[in-house]
């Protein structure tokens, strides 16, 4: 029985590799020079009229407002992208398996998405797995990458930070396996598998190689969870041996958090299982200015989803025009780079960075008094200037 299972997973690994190779042969020359390692796996389908089609999932809280900002900025920058919108929301009762299937069908066609956070309600309504998690699992978005970069002109307690956090997103503590084993006793299962640990470790080392990073650090708690995190650590170590040019070390999660608040510069690329990733993503976002400034992306072998780094619906800001569009705009710029629209990508990210550097227009989370609309207008104004210079 066990042998059959091993054989099955071995076959799956072979077919995974085959898919990668076959999609690579479809790729054009310019694509091979692209920056994202998963790009060779997920190409967007270019329409005959020259526009890229991208799935858009606004989500909850300030998600829809931020998507509106992205659309406005794209219009001003004349970006050849068309959005295919899908509204999925648990709290607004717009979530169902049919809606999820619609999103999946859209993704199968478009391969690339931009999304806000689909809020996960706190109450237990009979379903342990949230829609956000279901989406991740169905699309197999196993790698979440958050690039934590200090923004020039916006100083925080730690400046000139340049950190990459890679988090395994499909197993670990978020397996949605919980049950009440006895009255008043709850068990929550954390699952770690060799296959997924190897996959995320390989992704991390590939990413580091492609981006010219020098060190990968695995974050774990293997001194306590000897088998689970021990397996994760072992997979990272084995993978490290295949990349002799990249330094490898490991750090325990609690020490890592302590080090991040006192000396974050000692880290380069961090790779970790699901829960620690969630915590460290948020921590690192806080170091450079909060959830409003850090972009993030999630990859599978076939799809790429662009979103913010620290995922919060920020419901208290809904409708108040105070959400910071920086993270979503920078993420949309990353998406354009992924689609090989380098010119537009640089245009937008330069415009955003310029607004922040000048420091006059800042949303409340960055210590300013401006509204999202004012920030957006400033970005668009800068866009026009940069476009004229480019011409």
């Amino acid at each position: 029985m066990a042998a059959l299972r091993v054989l099955r997973s071995a076959v799956k690994n072979v077919s995974f590799a085959r898919n990668v190779i076959s999609s690579r042969t479809l790729v054009t020359g310019s694509f091979l020079n692209s920056s994202s390692p998963a790009q060779f796996c997920s190409t967007a389908v270019q329409r005959p009229d020259g526009d890229f089609k991208v799935t858009m999932i606004p989500g909850d809280g300030v998600g829809p407002e931020l998507m509106h900002v992205v659309k406005e900025v794209f219009k001003a920058a004349e970006v050849p992208v068309q959005f295919d919108e899908h509204h999925v929301s648990e709290v607004q009762n717009m979530a169902s398996d049919e809606k999820l299937d619609e999103v999946l069908d859209s993704m199968k066609l478009n391969k690339v998405a931009i999304k806000g956070k689909i809020y996960t309600p706190m109450e237990y309504k009979g379903e342990l797995s949230s829609y956000e998690m279901k989406l991740r699992k169905k699309l197999d978005l196993f790698a979440n990458v958050v690039h934590v970069n200090s923004l020039p002109g916006y100083s925080t307690r730690h400046n000139n930070l340049d950190l990459v956090i890679i988090r395994e997103q499909t197993e670990g503590e978020y397996s949605s396996l919980e049950y009440e084993s006895a009255q008043g006793v709850i068990e929550c299962l954390k699952i770690i598998t060799r296959e997924k640990s190897r996959r995320i470790a390989k992704f991390a080392f590939d990413y580091a190689t492609k981006k010219g990073r020098s060190k990968v650090t695995a974050v774990h708690k293997a001194n306590i969870m000897k088998l689970g995190d021990g397996l994760f650590l072992q997979c990272c170590k084995e993978m490290a041996e295949l990349y002799p040019n990249i330094k490898y070390d490991s750090v325990i999660i609690d020490n890592c958090c302590m080090q991040l608040v006192s000396n974050p510069y000692q880290y380069d690329v961090l790779v970790m299982p699901n829960l620690y990733g969630n915590i460290i993503d948020n921590l690192a976002a806080g170091l450079v200015g909060g959830a409003g400034v850090v972009p993030g992306e999630s990859f599978s072998a076939e799809y790429a989803v662009f979103e913010t780094g620290a995922r919060h619906p920020f419901s208290q800001a809904m409708g108040r025009n105070i959400a910071n569009p920086t993270a979503m705009l920078l993420s949309s710029a990353n998406m354009l780079r992924h689609l090989n629209l380098e010119f537009h990508s640089n245009l937008i990210s330069e415009a955003v960075r310029k607004v922040i550097k000048l420091g006059k227009i800042r949303t409340p989370d960055m210590g300013g008094y401006s509204t999202s609309a004012e920030f957006t207008a400033a970005v668009i104004a800068n866009l026009q200037i940069l476009k004229t210079i480019a011409r």
Partner: protein, 302 residues
């Protein structure tokens, strides 16, 4: 120096194995603890191939030390990028992710079980509120991830019913942006481990952070949580701040408030003054010199 009415009973807690193969703390240590109820402990190291569980885990199990309390207060004179920190982390210490229950389902698939019980959750919540009351703190914040792990942390319901409490997930962002907004934090084992170390990092690290473990039968063990630092052992270079502040916590626990205040003030003043500091605090004095300076100030206060 200050004539604190305490008599020390020193005991070693190196694990010994009983005839049935179980690892336990030496009975003399256990008896002493149960009789005296209060203990002060330095760092313990478990050798890697010792074959027995971590010493700290053994102590926790033996005395049912269910609450780990770490007050984190910014120290004047020891600058970190974070100022105005004044919070207390209270961590459930007996269950959760550290239950140690793991299985290999098939080769390459491991399952770790995180156990949460209503009793333990209720116990830690009640402790947190009592601590807040006894120490004049105003807000207790429960830290959890209940939006993902749904059933867990029923005590937050208990908290909401009884008192004014904030429920927060994703603690990490507000913690590093503005730690001064937090007062008392209560959380399960893993988050507690992570966040209490994070907070220690905000004020300067484990070398200056005190810690106390409260047990079921009135037993309380106060300890420094840093490592054993074998490389500087015996060289009179260690920084005694963490252990000293833990001892101050201990004095407060046994209601010797006056003495506690004097020693704490002397310690903080020495650091603020900046003239006699150990190496990790930025000076180059010896441990004994640092200690004498604190003693001198304590005497001056009298």
């Amino acid at each position: 120096m200050i004539k604190v009415p305490i008599r020390w009973e020193e005991r070693t807690v190196t694990a010994i194995q009983t005839s049935s193969g179980q690892w336990i703390i030496p009975p003399e240590a256990t008896e002493s603890m149960n009789a005296n109820k209060i203990g002060l402990k330095g760092p313990l190291k478990t050798p890697i191939a010792a074959g027995h569980p971590s010493m700290n885990l053994l102590l926790r199990k033996t005395f049912d030390l269910y609450a780990n309390v770490r007050p984190c207060v910014s120290i004047e004179g020891f600058k970190t990028p974070y100022s105005g920190v004044d919070l207390v982390t209270i961590r459930e210490n007996t269950e959760g992710e550290y239950s140690g229950i793991e299985h290999v389902i098939v080769d390459g698939v491991v399952q770790s079980i995180k156990l949460i019980t209503e009793d333990a959750s209720r116990r830690i919540a009640e402790f947190a509120f009592e601590y807040a009351r006894n120490n004049q703190r105003s807000t207790v914040t429960a830290v959890h991830k209940a939006n993902i792990m749904c059933h867990i942390w029923k005590c937050s319901q208990l908290c909401v019913e009884q008192h004014d409490v904030d429920e927060k997930a994703q603690e990490a962002i507000p913690m590093v942006q503005d730690p001064s907004q937090f007062d008392v934090l209560v959380m399960p084992n893993l988050y507690g481990d992570i966040l209490s170390d994070l907070c220690a990092g905000l004020i300067g690290g484990l070398g200056v952070t005190p810690s106390g473990n409260i047990g079921e039968n009135g037993v309380a063990i106060f300890e420094s949580v840093h490592g054993t630092a074998p490389d500087i052992a015996g060289l009179d270079l260690a920084n005694p701040t963490a252990l000293l502040l833990s001892a101050v916590m201990m004095l407060r626990h046994i209601e010797l408030y006056g003495h506690a205040k004097k020693i704490e003030a002397a310690c903080f003043e020495t650091i603020k003054d900046g003239k006699v500091l150990t190496k990790d605090l930025g000076g180059n004095s010896k441990c004994s010199e640092f200690t004498s300076e604190i003693c001198r100030r304590v005497r001056d206060h009298d």
